[in-house]
Symmetry: C2
Subunit: 535 residues, 2 copies
């Protein structure tokens, strides 16, 4: 087929904020008043006098890159280099707001396709320039912060020109996508053929196909459509020692599954230039509804029962008592039974069904019977519609809260069901102890498996004038609690640089040695996202 | 919990045949007459005058091993060494029948548990002795044939003493098993707790948990319960450089999934000493039934539709016209519409449902509606019961046919749905061309995915007095056809030594370099199953 590309491109994100500036509404007065009742309001605008460091690359190196991808695609512009600096974690945003551009790339290079990526990697290896693949820039664990020690500088490999639907196989239900396609762009291209991918993480509006693969993303419909890594059928990866194509078949016994080595490799083993994924017909029906549970434990037991009965709906998420109370306090939300202190509201679960009318009806009947038998109370479609309406809005709200000096950040982990309660208690206690009793610590479960589930924490706390200094010890305490509980340091945010200190505890010294060995094999010059992922 | 172990151990398999000698019935007269109508009958008993080569290990090396695991667990006995030679492919059996013991291990060592495995590996690395992990001895692709070039000899690491259920977590639905547990033993231990694993490959009666993991086995219930690798939650692996424990959570974004590097590693990266798997409640209901399709294409399209609708039963398998005709010609089978030439019988599909009565009823109703709409004709429970009754018998029949000079062997592959017909035609043509028009080439699909399916071929042909010489060129031609079709060289039999020449075509030079790099990192002395898997 002819390569199909998106017609409408979304605007770039600003350096200091999330998302489309046209969508950023600021805090409505009512919400601002509510926030002010809990936290001190302190206007904290981003600094305007920001200096982007001069490039460390020589004129000869810049010329060499230009010869590979064309003059227009080797960019030294301060504005673009600033927007290619770090990702969108709260610390990333706080550093950008403070004008700290110490991690700015020295150059932004925009290859047109796989062959140009290969050429750039070969040149970068020869010249010893660090290469940081850049997709949507939505990283939240420091995956875009390479350490150029011993290297000439940092090249941001912007995949924004690699935005094609390269192939669609309707018989096998697979599509081959270029890595720079954003979530909505990929879905729009597939929708032209009546198909969809079905991957909807919080970062959906900006995150890209390559990033989903490189970080093992998981989306809000993971119960029905699976994690992104489980959707991947095949990969094409450019490395400094040559390309590798993996995924000759859906599943096989042809030795170790090397797809699983490049999935989650965060740019350290190569640049993913093509991703072949399983696609599905667009759902004819989408229904989202609310269920109320007496407690987080009761709701999570119900999720466990569904998962272990292979009876999962498309979407299932459960807020703990605190998060439920905050949701109910939102004037746009339904209810009003609860109050902001989290008493009495119980726990809200969102359950969503997508598919053909027959499949949705059958699944809904079975799930409804199971949830009812387990003690859930149906709340109708109101909470489901409210969730669906605001499902990608949280990062915009975070900006508005950072504007008034409130620290907001998220972190997540995953464990087996028998360890869920222990992990929840430890992480919550660690965050509360570090941030103080004035902080709000909210949690939800949004990814479930037969054997366990993720825990996703959101904190809101007084920024104390230096929100970064407030947050970093809390994050460290949470990570230590996760390690102490024997859980994974990340369910779907990836390792980056932020979680790197905790990876050895999870995969062991031999596991780390294996990563290093693979790194040496595919990246002997050590130019691929150095300092990220591998301890 | 206390470690639980099987009470009844199955008898060892003979060196020259499959399975429990008490179950081997020989060819019933009616079947023998039928075979004689198609192939020349030529009695070919195994040679009796077999000489096991003297061990190449020194007295000091044997003493060193005895110090680690006890005198009784370092075995030089000719009979045991013969039974630890190679696996159970047809070439393996033919070589054993011919008295070829050139691949016999020099010693059989039986460690009691993980710590003794670690000790043996360290000693073997120091003394440069090749180590071949031995579970059930059911390998069919040469995975037990190490190349000891440059090493002192070959040690068969018999895991038969490591047969414990180490832990059961009913909340998380996981069980931790030792590698030497055979399929029925693992199921019996789990059944004591009302649970099951649900992995039933053809080799179920003898194959072991460690082998399932090391070779990425797939069982007859893969549609419902998944491939073995998909059941694995965690692994403990002993390597010469230390142990590695993987699987801190059900799924995560903590970098590459290293479980997937040790799954399918066939003893080349380490010895799997513990496997934690997802378990399920024992099914209350099991129903198997037959469906008839006009053609292999029509039946496989129906399988594809079910898989892409996420509507798979527990078991689904479809025989092509030739295999269907052979099944119907079996006096024990139902029917009689077809004849042995494969005309008129159409294609038989077996569909099985297992679970709670409610889940089985719901799934059966949905699948029945779908299959009926697609043109399938229900055949009732007869064919299903017949399949379930004989599901593990094929290897016994093979022995009986080898006894009368008939060559019988199987091979398998996997591809995407859009390539299924091409792959089927190429492999079938290659086998038929190599084996001659007098050969029977049968095929079935027994593992399906949303994006593709496996093809499992069985051949029966005149042995021509030297069945091995007849088979090896046919196998090579089939492998070349698989490569030419762009499919995987194996769906669930693994690489071993037989498929090694074709692996580079599948994973590329960079993929092979990655395997070599991992091998060097975990096995610097090169003692782990040398010559297997890695080109």
């Amino acid at each position: 087929m002819t390569i199909e590309r998106p017609t409408a491109l979304q605007p770039e994100m600003p350096a200091t904020r999330w998302g489309d500036p046209a969508h950023a509404a600021g805090l409505p007065d009512g919400v601002r008043d509510l926030v002010g009742m809990v936290f001190p309001i302190q206007e904290t605008p981003a600094r305007a006098d920001v200096v982007v460091p001069a490039t460390r690359l020589s004129a000869a190196e810049i010329a060499g890159l230009r010869a590979l991808v064309g003059d227009a695609n080797v960019v030294l512009d301060d504005g673009l280099r600033r927007r290619r600096t770090r990702g969108k974690s709260t610390p990333d945003l706080l550093r950008q707001r403070a004008g700290d551009l110490s991690d700015a790339p020295d150059v932004v290079v925009r290859p047109a396709g796989h062959d140009e990526v290969v050429a750039v990697l070969a040149y970068a290896a020869e010249q010893r320039i660090a290469v940081v693949p850049f997709g949507g820039g939505t990283a939240v664990t420091g995956g875009l912060v390479a350490d150029p020690a011993g290297l000439a500088g940092v090249l941001s490999l912007d995949l924004g020109r690699m935005r094609g639907l390269l192939a669609l196989d309707p018989v096998s239900s697979t599509a081959t996508l270029e890595p720079g396609l954003r979530g909505p762009e990929a879905e729009a291209l597939l929708a032209e053929h009546g198909m969809m991918l079905g991957h909807f993480p919080q970062s959906f509006e900006y995150a890209t196909i390559g990033g989903f693969a490189a970080t093992r993303s998981s989306g809000q419909s993971s119960a029905g459509y699976g994690r992104f890594d489980a959707m991947v059928v095949a990969l094409r990866v450019a490395t400094p020692v040559g390309e590798v194509r993996l995924g000759a078949s859906p599943a096989n016994a042809s030795g170790p599954d090397l797809r699983e080595l490049f999935l989650g490799s965060e740019g350290a083993f190569g640049v993913i230039t093509e991703v072949t994924v399983r696609v599905r017909p667009l759902p004819e029906v989408k229904e989202y509804e609310g269920w109320r549970w007496e407690s987080f434990a009761a709701g999570s037991d119900a999720m466990r029962t569904l998962a272990q009965s292979d009876l999962l709906p498309t979407v299932i998420r459960l807020s703990d008592e605190n998060e439920t109370a905050i949701n109910l306090a939102d004037p746009e939300s339904i209810g009003g039974e609860g109050d902001v202190d989290g008493e009495g509201a119980g726990c809200l679960m969102i359950v969503g069904y997508e598919g053909t009318p027959a499949a949705v009806a059958a699944k809904k009947a079975a799930v409804t019977a199971a949830l009812t038998a387990l003690g859930g109370a149906p709340q109708g479609s109101g909470p489901g519609e409210a969730w669906a309406h605001g499902r990608f809005d949280a990062p915009y709200l975070r900006d508005s809260l950072l504007d008034v000096g409130v620290l907001v950040e998220t972190l997540e982990t995953v464990t087996f069901w028998s360890n869920r309660e222990n992990l929840y208690a430890r992480v919550k206690a660690a965050l509360q102890a570090s941030l103080g009793e004035g902080a709000m610590v909210l949690c939800h479960i949004s990814h479930v498996y037969a054997t366990g589930c993720s825990l996703y924490f959101t904190v809101a706390a007084p920024g104390g004038g230096d929100p970064l200094a407030t947050w970093l010890p809390a994050k460290a305490a949470a990570c230590e609690a996760i390690v102490a509980a024997g859980a994974s340091i990340t369910h779907h945010h990836a390792v980056g640089t932020d979680h790197k200190p905790y990876l050895t505890a999870e995969i062991g010294e031999v596991g780390v040695e294996v990563l290093r060995a693979v790194k040496r094999a595919v990246d002997p010059a050590g130019i691929l996202n150095p300092g990220v992922l591998i301890p």
